[in-house]
């Protein structure tokens, strides 16, 4: 709260300074040319009309509905692919990748933590709608609506199987990314998901060399490893996985009873098909129980350790905030540790604000990073232990099934299932008989 108040004081001081500066700047009185002179207008071309945003929203909803229908009812990979290409063209190349639900995480966070920020309703809708759809119909959004998923899906030519341990370990990166994005957005430091969006430079056909290299290497990896960004990095995917675990309906490999033919086993490039568990005698599972108990005991310790670790990174983290960087620079200049000045410090001195105010602001931001670090570190500890616990819990499974959370509903496995093919044939027969 004090942080906000100091901000508003800063604005008042700034405004007062500006008015004085503007008065002082009027060095040459504007001439009076008389009635014949037509003074040119300062043009102000308006921003995109609101219906533009509403069109995006309408396309998003339509695409989500169609994706849900295709993955649950129609079950035709070709149509899913077509919808995916449409989304790639529309949300990617035409709308140039902004606004997207992944980035909207940060708008939501900033709006929750900074009451002066008014979130655009489109960003809010883009965040909420795919989550709500996933909660009912599974990850149709990932399959065919998200342009970031689509651009990786079209380059997936030669999928290799990622070992399970590596897949599970890499999956934790997304949680770290999400936690960092929330921390930096909540403190008003940066929108890192947008700054490091790997594919936006492809959508815009321009961008910095770093982003092109990052995006390019992800696409290169994506030829062999299915959708590396979606599976291992996407912070929105963390939320979607959670929603998908709870979803009411979801895409299945077989439309009816699994016949255990194993034909689908190798069709999933994302490692999202669970195979039937072997029959294990109870005695073999005793070590699992011991491990589970140990993990539960360790949980608070690991959470505390995580909080301790991340909160101690507050100093480097807080440098993501422009005010902290500026305060450090001003401090160096004030104490004579550096001779020259930079654009930032010149601009600060031009405002005439006392450095103490800036230092105080920087300290308050640093404190926010310490608090946020504890919370997020504990969260990451919980995630790691949660993952280990899930690996220790034995769950009997008798059929080949799409994984509740990891299945991206792309529909690649449908055509491999003989039961699915038989269903299609039956339908054909029925239609011919009717005719």
């Amino acid at each position: 709260m004090t942080h906000l108040r100091s901000k508003s004081t800063l604005t008042v001081v700034l405004l007062a300074g500006l008015i004085c500066a503007a008065v002082a700047q009027q060095r040459f009185p504007p001439p009076d040319f008389g009635p014949d002179y037509q003074m040119p207008e300062t043009t102000t071309p308006p921003p995109q009309a609101i219906w533009y945003d509403l069109t995006d929203l309408a396309v998003l909803v339509t695409a989500l509905v169609v994706a849900s229908y295709l993955t649950l009812k129609n079950r035709n990979r070709n149509y899913i692919f077509l919808l995916m290409v449409f989304s790639l063209v529309y949300f990617g190349f035409w709308r140039q990748g902004c606004v997207c639900p992944i980035g909207a995480i940060q708008n939501i966070t900033l709006a929750l933590f900074d009451s002066s920020y008014s979130i655009p309703l489109v960003a809010l809708a883009f965040f909420v709608l795919p989550l709500a759809f996933t909660l009912f119909f599974g990850r149709g959004f990932c399959a065919a609506v998200c342009p970031l998923g689509a651009i990786q899906d079209v380059v997936l030519l030669h999928p290799l199987r990622v070992p399970l341990w590596l897949q599970q370990a890499l999956g934790l990166l997304a949680y770290v990314y999400l936690a960092a994005a929330v921390l930096f957005a909540a403190t008003g430091s940066a929108f890192i998901i947008c700054e490091y969006d790997p594919f936006v430079s492809f959508f815009r056909l321009s961008g910095g060399i770093n982003m092109l290299v990052l995006g390019g290497s992800l696409l290169l990896i994506g030829i062999f490893v299915g959708r590396p960004y979606c599976r291992f990095l996407c912070p929105y995917g963390v939320l979607l996985r959670l929603m998908s675990r709870l979803s009411k309906w979801r895409g299945t490999i077989t439309p009816r009873q699994c016949v255990q033919c194993r034909l689908c086993e190798d069709t999933c490039p994302f490692g999202a098909i669970d195979i039937p568990t072997p029959q294990t005698p109870d005695a073999v599972r005793t070590p699992d129980r011991v491990r589970l108990a140990a993990l539960l005991m360790l949980l608070p310790i690991i959470m505390l350790f995580g909080g301790f670790l991340v909160s101690h990174l507050s100093t480097p983290f807080s440098r993501m905030h422009a005010d902290v960087r500026l305060a450090e620079r001003i401090y160096l200049e004030e104490t004579g540790q550096v001779e020259d000045t930079v654009d930032e410090s010149d601009a600060f001195r031009a405002t005439g604000n006392p450095p103490e105010m800036l230092y105080q602001q920087a300290r308050s931001i640093h404190d926010q990073f310490i608090r946020g670090g504890w919370i997020l570190g504990a969260f990451l500890g919980l995630v790691v232990v949660g993952k280990l616990i899930r690996l220790s819990v034995f769950r009997r499974q008798s059929d080949y099934q799409a994984h509740r959370a990891y299945c991206l509903a792309c529909g690649r496995c449908f055509a491999s299932c003989p039961v699915h093919l038989q269903t299609l044939k039956d339908k054909e027969v029925i239609t011919t008989i009717k005719q």
Partner: protein
Amino acid sequence: MAQEQIDSKEISRRDLLQGGLRNLCLLGVGGAAGLLIGRSRAQATVWQIDPYTCISCGNCASYCVMEESAVKCVHAFAMCGYCDLCTGFLEPEPDAINKGAENELCPTGAIKREFVEDPYYQYTIDEKLCNGCGKCVKGCNAFGNGSLFLQVRHDRCLNCNQCSIAAACPSQSFRRVPADQPYIIKEAYHAG
């Protein structure tokens, strides 16, 4: 799958838990959305430069995600002194006060100088040529009335969620403004 269908009339413990959690999630997402809608002024925002704090460092020309920056120089004619020796138009020590390219400050020749009446000249910006480097702005602010200034042109701006120029702006002059007041046009303050 079929097994589930057969048993579907009986609600298993897992189904019950999942259903409960699902409703909880819906409530959470919906609640957060409702809270934010309540707080939101239901208004889209766009990025704009505060011309009063802008130090015309030149980052606008190079940090925009577009090949040609969405930031351009604009002219508040009501503030302009129509100077013959315009420090926004001319190099600091020009060979002559005329339109010669060697005397012009603008690297792309985007400023048009037209005679109005002795000794006054009118300066207009050709936006197609302007690259938003802000050299003229710096010159005009240093010795003139400061009537030249940089603005995000919304017919060009993609309105990125995080403006890349804003992230690189040394004076933190970029901010989100309501979309129905998308420009901050400098105004003359007459002292008397």
